[in-house]
Symmetry: C2
Amino acid sequence: MPKRATPSDRPEISLDASQPVPLYKQLYERLRGAILAGQLPRGARLPSTRTLAAELGVSRSTTALAYELLLLEGYLESRVGRGTTVSRTIPAVLVNGSATRTPAEAAGVANPHLASHVRPLRDVPNLEFVEETAGGPFRGGQPALDLFPYDLWARLIARRARRSMSEYAYYQSAAGFLPLREAIAAHIGISRGVRCTAEQIIVTTGTQGALDLAMRTLIDSGEAAWLENPGYFGAHGALVLRGARPIPVPVDRHGLDVDAGRRRCPHARLAVTSPSHQYPTGVTMSLGRRLELLEWADEVGAWILEDDYDSEFRFSGRPLEALQALDRSNRVVYIGTFSKVFFPSLRLGYLVAPPALVEPLLTTRRFVDVHVPILEQLALADFIHEGHFARHLRRMLQHYARRRDLLRRELRTHLGGLLDVFVPEAGMQLVGWLRPGIDDVRAATLADEVGVMVLPLSRAGLEPLPRGGLLFGFAGTDEEGIRNGVRTLAAALERL
Amino acid sequence: MPKRATPSDRPEISLDASQPVPLYKQLYERLRGAILAGQLPRGARLPSTRTLAAELGVSRSTTALAYELLLLEGYLESRVGRGTTVSRTIPAVLVNGSATRTPAEAAGVANPHLASHVRPLRDVPNLEFVEETAGGPFRGGQPALDLFPYDLWARLIARRARRSMSEYAYYQSAAGFLPLREAIAAHIGISRGVRCTAEQIIVTTGTQGALDLAMRTLIDSGEAAWLENPGYFGAHGALVLRGARPIPVPVDRHGLDVDAGRRRCPHARLAVTSPSHQYPTGVTMSLGRRLELLEWADEVGAWILEDDYDSEFRFSGRPLEALQALDRSNRVVYIGTFSKVFFPSLRLGYLVAPPALVEPLLTTRRFVDVHVPILEQLALADFIHEGHFARHLRRMLQHYARRRDLLRRELRTHLGGLLDVFVPEAGMQLVGWLRPGIDDVRAATLADEVGVMVLPLSRAGLEPLPRGGLLFGFAGTDEEGIRNGVRTLAAALERL
């Protein structure tokens, strides 16, 4: 017998008749959101349309229409004698909260007291799904892990483990190993135009560690921050965790729409952006927009977090410098990572802070984790200083360009009628925009059923997007995988 | 000409005539605190006693008496024609904020907007001073780094780097490498009586990472938490960073005084304690107190963070189980670290959560740093599984017992008149209590001048302590270092 979602464990739903969005649509959005967040687990039984209508004080046609849409899209199932239940076939990759029935709930322990951000944070997509799903093609954020020089890396690690650990066994600098920071400063100065000294660099636990550290230091709980919509869920999560208020700002073909941001919330304390290769759309922010953004930040005293997560891989055009390079007012915190050029489980990234922020960031850092482990920092410094880094980067660039071009061709050939492919100038992934009206979550569900991992863009949206899309990571999928993946996907999407 | 501390950059001082503490004493405490926190930098000029008395609305004898005490203790200097200034001879090790003139201030940039915790967080002592001071004897929190089997460790690291990295290159579990968590569960089950499964364990960036993660998940900004007084500054800092309200609870010879906590703040959300070997006093919490603490937590629904940082090293008596082992209500989060059995720059620790808290902690964790680097986790799991861990622990226990006994003897011989030595049953450090009335900061200053590193206990106090003391780390100082260190110290303290 399926479990009945009783009012007490069902997410609270409140509809607002004064909003321009029709009530059935509001209800549909709420239920869909609750299903994707795992608040309504697979198999959970919903109340009848009549009961729910009475509970919410709306007409039965409103609840019936919302249910019908969700049935059509496969979020709900309905069988005679069983009523309406949440579909059991929604793949785990879409359901962020598939495991979010807390053990407390499972064990029957009454509501434990938790910090207030925990509940909303459960609704933000995160990287956890990668543990559950084996490596299908097009996984996002994955470099060519098959082409990394593991032997070379192992030699550098072994050398440092053998020779250097006793020297560096005690607590080390909260900012990171100085020779590594010097190597990073030199690298991003040349490749990204970032202007800084090693003193401005703080080594972090990847991009996430940098986002979290910067947000904790620069914005208070309750204050507002601009987030790109769609945008990176890691930044969204760090902001919710901070207790701050996310203001979604639309992204168009020029990047973050600064005027829209000014209209929505002129005095935000902070803006997060990925100007070189916007996540997930792939757009490069225009120079005009960059200057507008910097002007706004200077005007209101806001901070800009520039997430430059994969722009080392630039295929065409004169490399556009980082936003940080244009910043005359010391408003930009630049964030880089080694997850893409190396591999994610290395957990090394960094931020470049304006001079005035170095000490406040370190003050915070000392009580977060003191510093990141020293061994990888030592070996990475060697890797860069000995020239391996630049060599590996060049080699990957060629591979990724080839993979990107192949993916583009294959998508045009096999899915040209359905997907409008946007070819980015940089990075490791591209977007295929769906024809307006097609639900990208439904498309991603069909893809998942045949083992193809594409992220629906609406999952990276803070509010509904004008158009759905699918995000394809191409860097970590080899040529054969790309060809097979696209064909398999094309067959699956015929059911759309 | 020394810089005059003008009202605007001087810390705000407010005195409260309704308190039992006399006004001159309150003023003395405030000024001393401001000097130690670096808010009143070395060389800063203070207003005359007459001016300050007028500003504060107190009698001139009040300000004069406070100044006189500070002059006597060496915090202030007074010269004809120069007025009263902050002493230039206070060593950096004592002045936490000695470098806390922010670059912003230095560069003349007007107040950058920062999160509100940053300023108070600067006043909390942290580990940073270890970077500035070369390794004198008795450094706290330092294991016998000269006796660690680096070659063995390097072999295990090299093997994993060579064989396993490609398999574990993508994002890994936020909770940590499962075989490591299994090894930890087995180890603490046997050695500390902790009752848990591997599923309850989350691998963290040392103790600090565990404290920070737990506080971010379990307490909201503005809520109150009990901290031991004196207590661990890392816990204090994590709480201030969280924006929570620290409630100092006195520690006596039975450990945390639960009744005092109830009187001060009965409905705190959380309590931090180190029952096995209290930091810094070394007291083992009595069974009665343990049961009182658990009863309180159960009664008000509070969480207990048990920081079991160094109790693997137990020299005598039946090993007292962890507080967690007595907990029938799932209120205790147990925190352990490898910084003491391995070395601090490994940055690996863990927490054991009650089942209901595992999911909320992981929800937070995914947006803090995703997970800790994988390589050390792999090698550490091997190290434990292959029996090296237990062997190393036994070997260190013998060394530490010998060093502890030697230190005790030397202190009694050379400093018996001044220090009342408390010999702990466990751990890596001991306290020498000073005769009442002797300022431990002054004593530590004298020690620092001759290269001996002892932490004045008042630096670990959230409010004035009834008696000062000096903390001696003995684990990381060899026999010769102990003998010479005590003699050097005894000579220096003759100036007290």
